[in-house]
């Protein structure tokens, strides 16, 4: 049996686990896949988070990708980092860089167990800040400067490819080289607030083709989190695991302990359980109904008769789900264009699932005072929070 086929049947423990430590974030990126902003009051406590780390150690999960929100805003962030190191669990954390000052960089450089990933989504301030908010480009580069000055070895620079930065790949590589960093490029998913901007931000078919060629040229020197496996249908496979690992080799723990099949699928449909259950994370990973189902042989559906199915495996489950496409059909960005045809054929009656949780911050109500006090709906705040995030909420 090929390794990919073995992986599709699931592993004893995940290879790649993402743990969003908090929904709190000081930025409000328009494409945030966890719709972060406000802290959730039910967030795991320090003791609970340490318990998760100890469970990961017992399961021999070698490393965990920590994100958010902005994970460094948690008051116990450094304590949890130390706890992970003490328990032999490596950490790679994603940050917007706002809290990586000289002292933090020095502390990080002193640990063998920590890797840092700084996010930028444009190779220029104009392109980046339009997505991530004013000043965020400068902040990220400042963090990279601190890390370089502290002697931190090869941090990562993480870029989500959009229509506006797809032409800047060489410039991103140059920025990474300048800071002694490794470039990581991942796919824009229509998840969280990403669903609101996906139509206008996702790369065009031509851009995808160029991206594929660029990735092949750069091989393993550029990381991708294996997120472009759907592009393998163009021909040669890209480096890495070319499969959807959801619930099989990958999963997400969210800030309140909910375990989802993958970081891009925060929706009840992909919720396997919670680490607070008596069976713990290990029990959810091994025995949950959802993960057991995902590890059964899946039908390729409409894609099975396609000659490229072995290469792309039907693409990304979350991308299909949040664009209202059938899970056993082509990816919305199918290299052969089958996804585009399906997207165009969606009717007004096509149900497009909304994210299950939304912690987006909304502008304080006092900015738009009601004409009369009694005009204010007592549920206005609640309704605003529960509704979709306004476009361009980045500021």
């Amino acid at each position: 049996m090929k390794l990919v086929e073995e992986f599709e049947l699931g592993l004893e423990a995940p290879i790649c686990i993402t743990w969003e430590l908090t929904y709190a974030c000081n930025l409000a990126c328009v494409h945030c896949l966890s719709s972060s902003g406000r802290r959730d009051p039910r967030e795991l406590t320090t003791a609970e988070a340490k318990g998760v780390i100890e469970e990961l150690e017992r399961m021999q999960v070698f490393y965990v990708n920590i994100g958010g929100g902005e994970p460094t805003v948690r008051k116990d962030f450094w304590e949890l980092l130390d706890h992970a190191a003490e328990h032999g669990v490596g950490v790679k954390f994603s940050t917007n860089g706002s809290r990586i000052d000289a002292a933090a960089a020095a502390r990080l450089a002193a640990s063998d167990y920590v890797d840092v990933q700084v996010s930028i989504d444009g190779a220029t301030a104009a392109v980046n800040d339009a997505v991530r908010g004013p000043g965020s480009f400068e902040t990220a580069l400042g963090a990279l400067e601190h890390l370089a000055a502290a002697g931190f070895q090869q941090p990562k620079i993480s870029v989500v490819v959009t229509r506006h930065n797809a032409g800047q790949l060489d410039e991103f590589k140059a920025i990474a080289d300048r800071y002694g960093a490794q470039l990581r490029i991942t796919r824009l998913r229509p998840s969280g607030r990403g669903a609101d901007v996906w139509d206008e931000l996702h790369p065009s078919a031509d851009q995808q083709r160029s991206l594929y060629t660029w990735l092949l040229e750069h091989g393993e020197e550029v990381l991708t989190g294996d997120s472009f496996f759907h592009l393998s249908a163009y021909g040669e496979a890209l480096p890495g695991l070319n499969l959807c690992g959801a619930g099989r080799v990958v999963c997400l723990i969210d800030p309140v302990g909910d375990v989802y099949a993958c970081p891009f699928a925060i929706h009840d449909e992909f919720l396997a359980g919670n680490v607070r259950e008596p069976r713990g994370f290990e029990g959810v990973w091994r025995d949950s109904e959802l993960f057991t189902e995902l590890r059964r042989p899946q039908s390729g559906g409409a894609c099975e008769s396609c000659g490229h199915y072995d290469a792309c495996r039907g693409g990304c489950m979350a991308a299909k789900f949040f664009t209202g496409l059938p899970l056993d059909g082509p990816d919305p960005e199918c290299a052969l264009g089958h996804g585009e045809a399906l997207l165009a054929a969606r009717g007004a009656d096509t149900a497009i699932p909304a994210p299950a949780v939304d912690h987006s911050r909304v502008k304080p109500a006092r900015l738009r005072p009601p004409a009369k006090v009694c005009d204010e709906n007592p549920l206005a705040d609640f309704l605003a929070v529960a509704g979709p995030a306004p476009r361009g909420a980045a500021a």
Binding site: M1, L3, E6, L9, L11, E12, A13, I15, Q60, F62, Y63, G88, G90, D112, Y113, D115
Partner: protein, 94 residues
Amino acid sequence: MSTEDSLDGRWRLHPQVALRPERFGALAYHFGSRRLSFLKSRRLLEVVEGLEAAPDVSAACRAAGVPEAELPSYRRALATLAETDMIVPAEAPA
């Protein structure tokens, strides 16, 4: 860089490498290089776990029950692990 020809003497797992058994074999993770490798059979896992106790890699293979005819392919797999520092000569300092 090691090659198959330089797999002489006693070898062992790099001290920063952890092994996790899986149905198909095992995962090997190097905490120093942050590289993940796959051992594609349970027998290869047994071989790697037995390296340090054996005088050389061929003896480790035989101890794990590798048939003579398959020795070359196991040596190739071990050479790949040596190239990425997953296994190191036992004499080398940790």
